[in-house]
């Protein structure tokens, strides 16, 4: 098993609804879906954003799109109306999710694209 950054396996986009953040996580290839599903759990995501005092983290699986949708309650310091942060929408936080590492079996490792 080799550890790689989630950024090498998947891309992501955030959106906000009030104080709730959603991050769509989309695998570059269908072969990555099961590994990401097993390792990028709601608990692990909640831990990653623990500094923000998040509430419930829900993961919705979309296997036909090789994708997951994470919904994080109370993740935005009150939302764009109330946050004192630079990024009240949480738009940059999609790339925080991509900082997680994932352990890959060798057969799948060979499919990972290297930065150009």
């Amino acid at each position: 098993m080799s550890a790689v950054l989630l950024h090498q396996l998947a891309h992501a986009r955030s959106g906000d609804k009030g104080n709730r953040l959603n991050i769509a996580l989309i695998c570059y290839r269908p072969e990555f879906f099961d590994t990401v599903a097993a390792q990028v759990t709601p608990d692990r995501v909640a831990q990653l954003f623990a500094g923000r005092d998040v509430g419930a983290v829900q993961r919705y699986d979309l296997p036909k799109l090789w994708a997951f949708n994470f919904a994080l309650d109370h993740a935005l310091d009150g939302g764009v109306n109330a946050s004192l942060g630079l990024d009240g929408h949480g738009k940059t936080l999609s790339f925080r999710l991509l900082t997680l590492t994932v352990a890959l079996p060798p057969a799948i490792l060979s499919l990972v694209q290297q930065p150009a």
């Binding site: 009030g18 919705y60 979309l62 949708n69 310091d77 990024d87």
Partner: protein
């Protein structure tokens, strides 16, 4: 002969979007020969409240300030080729927007242009603040509040379809659900029934994909080395082609963009936008239908062409969402730079000094500090992430922010940050500060029978 395919282009995905970006879209729609529509989405949550404040200052204002810049490059071409325009740029004053458009059209040689105005979203006359507070979801921001700036329900696609049925060349709305800008033209063109949930879901999905303009066609997408344009040229992200949907009567659709433009439409761009601002993908609530995207299939059908099918729908909700905006005090920010050896330590000292000074001057004021270059965007407001960070940078910017009902405490913070010039750590420079009034918003659910959407052609 019944219509088999309708083309819908998006000319803007937000009020500040790029004027002129719609021109290649309109040219492609004109060349297609298919029944065509152009949408502009220009109303973010608080944009409408800002427009309401404008209208209070000037009774002829209150529509989107970008209306003229967005329409000027394409209005004559659209009217000439019978490409019908649907937009929410009416904001807080759709009537005034319609009059302005009529004047523009007349100047361009189209005095007969038919312009429709959609009404019924403005709840402020029929609902007191207490009525709205009783219907608030997700919090109690409205309870006991005196004045509000704006209260608007998200209308569905019905009044838009009716306006097109009545022959409108241009449909001007205030608050409507963004996907309704697309669903309205589709229902008008195909005659879908208002309880044909799967078709309404398919049209809503197309609307959701188009409503943010270039976000589905290569905007908000590039990640060099990981997500590039097909050519590999970074220059392809300069003039991004705004999206066009080719929708068939069964609801299946192709998402594409004008030939010869930059950007990219592929599985990655379409999936990112499909899930944008979604909570439960099996239940995306809109005024017209509950959309389920879990069974949607996407397929690359050619260069910059993605086919979608499989949206499913369930009966629309009994309530309509409404956004209520109210004044929320003043927000201030001030920044100062530190660079070179030991810059991060000097930045941290600046934060400690400001916190200590403000604790004496304004003990009740909550303030946030960031070190841009170490932890800022990812950081939390309580400062846990910044405290834990071990990274050092030799070129940082310290940022302070606070909000308060009154200006004075925030102004004091900004003055203290500026005073770091003489009374802070060594080598601080480049102070910038600003103080702005803030609007906040709350969400309500309104019984559908209490909202009366309507449409009329401008006399």
């Amino acid at each position: 002969m019944p219509v088999t395919t309708v083309h819908i282009g998006a000319g803007a995905g937000f009020a500040g979007d790029r004027a002129g970006a719609a021109l290649p879209v309109v040219q492609a729609l004109a060349a297609s020969g298919a029944p065509s529509f152009l949408i502009f989405e220009t109303l973010a949550e608080r944009t409408l409240a800002l427009a309401q404040l404008e209208r209070q200052r000037d009774p002829q204002a209150g529509y989107s300030p970008s209306l003229v810049a967005l329409l000027q490059p394409v209005l004559a071409l659209c009217l000439h080729h019978k490409i019908r325009i649907v937009s929410n740029f009416g904001a807080a004053h759709p009537q005034a927007a319609a009059r302005r458009i009529r004047a523009m059209a007349a100047d361009m040689g189209f005095p007969q242009a038919k312009i429709a105005v959609v009404s019924g979203d403005d709840l402020s006359a029929r609902f007191s603040t207490a009525d709205l507070a009783a219907r608030e979801t997700d919090g109690r921001l409205l309870q006991g509040r005196g004045s509000i700036v704006a209260a608007n329900a998200y209308l569905g696609a019905q009044p838009i379809a009716e306006a097109l049925d009545a022959g409108a060349d241009i449909v001007v709305t205030g608050r409507v659900a963004d996907p309704a800008l697309v669903l309205g033209p589709l229902v008008h063109a195909f005659g879908w029934r208002w309880d044909d949930w799967d078709r309404l879901a398919a049209g809503t999905l197309v609307g959701h994909l188009l409503e943010c303009g270039p976000q589905v066609s290569g905007g908000y997408f590039a990640d060099p080395g990981f997500k590039d344009a097909p050519s590999g040229h970074a220059g392809d992200f300069v003039e991004i082609g705004y999206p066009i949907a080719e929708v068939r009567a069964d609801g299946s659709a192709i998402i594409t963009k004008p030939a010869g433009t930059g950007g990219v439409v592929d599985l990655r761009t379409v999936k990112e936008q499909m899930l944008y601002e979604i909570h439960d993908p099996a239940a995306y609530l809109t005024p017209d239908v509950v959309l389920d995207i879990t069974q949607v299939e996407v397929e690359q059908a050619g260069p910059d062409r993605v086919a979608l099918r499989g949206a499913r729908g369930r009966a629309r909700p009994a309530t309509l969402k409404a956004t209520v905006c109210f004044p929320a005090g003043l927000f201030g920010e001030a920044e100062i730079s530190y660079a070179g050896p030991n810059a991060t330590a000097r930045a941290r000292l600046a934060i400690d000094i400001i916190r200590a000074r403000m604790a004496r001057l304004q003990p009740a004021l909550a303030l946030r500090a960031d070190i841009i270059g170490v932890v800022s965007s990812f950081g939390d407001s309580a400062g846990h992430d910044l405290a834990a960070a071990t990274a050092e940078s030799e070129d940082v910017r310290v940022r302070f922010a606070a909000r308060h009902a009154d200006a004075a405490p925030v102004q004091q913070l900004l003055a203290e940050v500026e005073a770091l010039y003489v009374a802070g750590p060594a080598g601080g420079g480049g102070v910038r500060r600003h103080l702005v009034p803030q609007l906040a918003s709350a969400s309500c659910l309104i019984e559908r029978e209490l909202v009366q959407p309507g449409m009329e052609l401008l006399a």
